[in-house]
Amino acid sequence: MDRTSSLINNPRFRGLFYQVALILVVGWIGYDIYSNALDNLRRLNLVPGDGFLDRTAGFGIIQSLIDYSEASSYRRALFVGLINTLLVAVLGIVFATLLGFLIGIARLSRNWLIAKIAAAYVEIFRNTPLLLQIFFWYFAVLRSVPDMRSKWSLFGIAHLNIGGVYLPRPVFGPDAGLIGIALLGGVAVSIIVSSWAASRREELGRPPRVWPVHLALIVGLPVLVFFLVGRPISFSMPVFNETGPLLRRGFERGSGLVVIPELVGLLLALTIYTAAYIAEIVRAGIRAVSHGQTEAASSLGLRPGQTLRLVVVPQAMRVIIPPLTNQFLNLTKNSSLAVAIAYPDLVSVGGTVLNQTGRAVEIVGVWMAVYLGLSVLTSIIMNAFNRRVALVER
């Protein structure tokens, strides 16, 4: 009796008991869901599996960075969606970070007006729903640019109308790879030069003048190769037809590089919205560096730019990076709102596939797996970076 009683009162045993109970409950719920789903799917003739992914999709997608046509498979369609998601996420992260740092620093500006404008920016965009902003920007953009038969042009290179932004598209010839190699080689050599310059600088105190070398290596070398191998890169310029039947007027299909307005609208909204959050993070990070640090730096004779670069930013970074990571993740997840404005991201394309095939479980599974994967990946990268920054500090 005492044996059992002491067993029951043993915290380890109790812990074990609760944990087993938890496993049982979770397992039971999981099994219930699983068997229900299986029953339902079997009743509906939907044998679970990914075989359906190889069937022909049959629908068009407005933007694909890889080859895709109506005859491609669902699998390929989903892949196109994934790439589009990555595209908008990466671009969004880059732009939002730049804009966010700008606004965050502007909020700390000693110029009252600039600081107030930045504050107003943050308060406006942080406090309205992102979806609303997406709608707003998308339709505002659509309504304020020229229609498809006319355009605004910038130096005759970039054009804009409701069909999107039209840019020259590079067309790579057979030997174009050499130029790429030359570029990579140039970058590699100039990195070596940089480190050589850095070591020279330790000896000399004054860094040797290396920027002409960099310029020659990174720009000159590829240009040289370009002409040597016979200009393998040409540009497909957007062709604008002024005459002909109305549907033929405007930019010719397949000419130039088109950035569709859905991408522009989504990117605009994601950037502006996330930048508001990043601005607050940056501000908090910079403010976390005590005033004494800047004073000490300037009394040592460091100039404001040097103070910022050598003293303030390295210290602010370790405060900034963890929440910044969160914002990157949020932006990636928020890019799924693309579905609202016809940007063909993973959720949007997946939704179409779901509809054509009725495969709810599989598609939702793909969504979850992809976003979880992206989250984990971003976290790993940023944690690695964070560790580096944090190491410097301690």
Binding site: G205, A296, L300, Q306, R394
Partner: protein
């Protein structure tokens, strides 16, 4: 370094022989300097001439403008009226002049303000490398020299957070010295320290004085003032109320406010 407890200032062994004051070279000159924070008049008609090699101690009640005055000297604060000339260069809005002055003037703060993300050695070499454009190798040699001078060469590769307060303050002094300044400003360098650590810092400062460094030092360490300073300046309500040689200042204060202040501060 360990058995100091009561009044550390008293025990400083000072060799005044080397402390020579130039009678012609002016290090710092302040003429009718006035400064306001908004409507608040912090500095009123400050006139002060510091000769090369002088050691000035500034005392006065809290809020009397001591910090503000010395912060004006290297332009951490801007004055609104009057002239400040440091080492022959007048402080105006000319950024280049300000940079030059700052290079010549070292400053040590109450809260050390070391850069926590850099090692001690990096703290010391940062300015020489980036401001004086000294080669790193050389900057490090100089830095180690000064670290030895403040007696903590073995800490060179630690981070500030790993050092005690006294050690940090000594590093801060060494950091200023690495720029080879002609004038050193101290703003209550010991007031954030535990009593055992005060002496280590004062020792370093005495050493500096003995080498003939021009110093302006805001401090309440009256022992230090008595032994090292060749002038004590008493400030109140933004003005210099009295200045005198330390012995005279302590034994025979003239102004009522000085008397009151000394009666409070001396035991």
């Amino acid at each position: 370094m360990s058995d100091v407890s009561a009044a550390p200032g008293e025990e400083l062994a000072v060799d005044r022989s080397k402390m020579r004051v130039s009678s012609t070279e002016v290090a710092i000159e302040m003429v009718d300097v006035n400064k306001w924070y908004g409507e608040f008049h912090v500095l009123r008609d400050i006139n002060l001439k510091v000769m090369r090699g002088e050691r000035i101690v500034v005392a006065g009640p809290s809020g009397s403008g001591k910090s503000t005055m010395i912060r004006c000297i290297n332009r951490l604060e801007e004055h609104q009226k009057g002239r400040i000339v440091v080492d022959g260069k007048e402080l105006t809005n000319d950024l280049r002049k300000i940079d030059e002055v700052r290079r010549e003037v070292g400053m040590v703060f109450q809260h050390f303000n070391l850069f926590p993300h850099l090692t001690i050695l990096e703290n010391l070499t940062l300015a020489p490398i980036h401001v004086r454009r000294m080669p790193r190798r050389e900057a490090e040699e100089v830095a180690m020299l000064y670290l030895k001078r403040v007696k903590i060469p073995e800490q060179a590769h630690k981070y500030p957070g790993q050092l005690s307060g006294g050690q940090q303050q000594r590093v801060a002094i060494a950091r200023s010295l690495c720029m080879n300044p002609r004038v050193m400003l101290f703003d209550e360098p010991t007031s954030a320290l535990d009593p055992e650590m005060i002496k280590e810092v004062l020792d370093v400062m005495v050493g500096l004085a003995e080498e003939g460094m021009t110093m302006v030092c805001v401090t309440h360490e009256m022992g230090f003032a008595r032994q090292v300073a060749n002038r004590v300046i008493f400030m109140d309500a933004g003005q210099i109320v009295e200045q005198n040689e330390p012995e005279a200042f302590f034994t025979n204060p003239q102004h009522d406010r000085t008397k009151l202040f000394l009666s409070q501060i001396l035991h």
